[in-house]
Amino acid sequence: MNCQEAQSYIEEAIDGSLKGSRKRKVDAHLSRCADCRKRFAAEKAEHVALFRALKNVSDIPPFPVSDADFTARLLEAIPAATAKAGGVLVPIWLRRAAVFALICGGTALAAWIGQELIENGESGIENDSVDLVGRGIHDAPESSPGRAASPLAAVESSPGRAASPLAAASTARTGCAPYQSPESSSPPATSKGESKMTVKTLVANVKRTAATVLLGASLGATAEDPYQFIISGTPVDNPRRSFVTASTTLETGRLGFTLASAPLEARQCVRLATNGTALNSKEFKGMAISIK
């Protein structure tokens, strides 16, 4: 066995998985090759350093969700366990149907939507088609910029929550930081003379690493009165950072259009700002936003 062959077994030699005749050959080579002995020793020292460094978990933050909440979510997500516990099962197809209904029928459901409502995605669904639906509107945010500070309270107190399969599927406790949008304080130019960005919308707490934002709503936008939308995001772990993810201008109002397909960073709050005059209308309030 030459040096190159011997060194190809360094990792196995270190972890003890080198066995039999191969081990004997490597050992024999090491016994007569000082260079390889030195190299093996250095690799072993490096192995120990890496092991020590990674075993030190002092830089790992605590769980974002307590064991009790985590377990409760887990039980909720497991049909067998839920059945045993006497819980009510909501089949995935029904949840998806509900999402579709929410997207398409946002107007009718506007009544039970709070002024803001964050829904976390049902992380158990592997299929991407309906991973998350976030809903929420600030209809008068400029007079109340701090409203987003307690999004979870809004979720908890939402009257529609108990009746919503989506809400039932969601118990995560990660919230978004208060919204302080650079876009809303410095609205981009629009084609609407005196209009300005008047909406600061806390939309969704994205669980996935990438998302397409779809808006389902019947809006009154026209070529003469277009709405400009801006999607911005703030990573949950760095609430001071905010960036525009995508922007688009809508010139027609139609149901279920795709606003933007944009890469979103993991676990960020997504917000939507618009200059649309239908801002305070039921249509806009009922807008559903799905992230997939």
């Binding site: 890496l50 092991f51 075993k55 769980f63 974002p64 366990a81 993991a266 676990r267």
Partner: protein
Amino acid sequence: MEIEDEIKQRPEAGARRLVAEYRERLYQVAYRLCLNAADADDLVFRTMQRAMERIGGYHPTGSFYQWLYAIMVNFRRMDLRRKAANMLDFTDELPEVASDAPAPSETLAAAEDASAVRAAVDSLPDIFREVVVFRYFEDMSVPEIAQLLGLPEGSVKSRLSRAKLRLRAHLAGTIEVLDAFKQDGTKK
């Protein structure tokens, strides 16, 4: 009672035990893979959910941890594929570190500050960080990692070797240019 039996026979108690006994270690590995708490927690959640749903498919040939890790790795890869499909990612296009990178004893093993080593590990591209985490955090052998990741042993060793080259270079300060390039790329 073994954990798998408890999950089968008493799902609720099994879930509590799964969380109480396995969550922390799984989370630590997940954190090293994801590099943020929220994604790590989500990854652990999906792993545990899948484990409970598929507990009938568990055959105790390896440890229960290894079975959980295999589930976790699959989810993680799915996430990365999804991310890759939606984001510009120059990671794979990064040039390899020059082969004259410093020898082991000069840098990595000599690094007294463990946090510097962890930062270097965190800077690794996903496919390298994956093997490094299982190798050094979980202290798994080459054959175990190969089985877990579904890779030939040669590939595991190759990734380990390349990962260590990068770590040495990072700790020696010679990889900064590459990192700057990576940041520029992902901002676009």
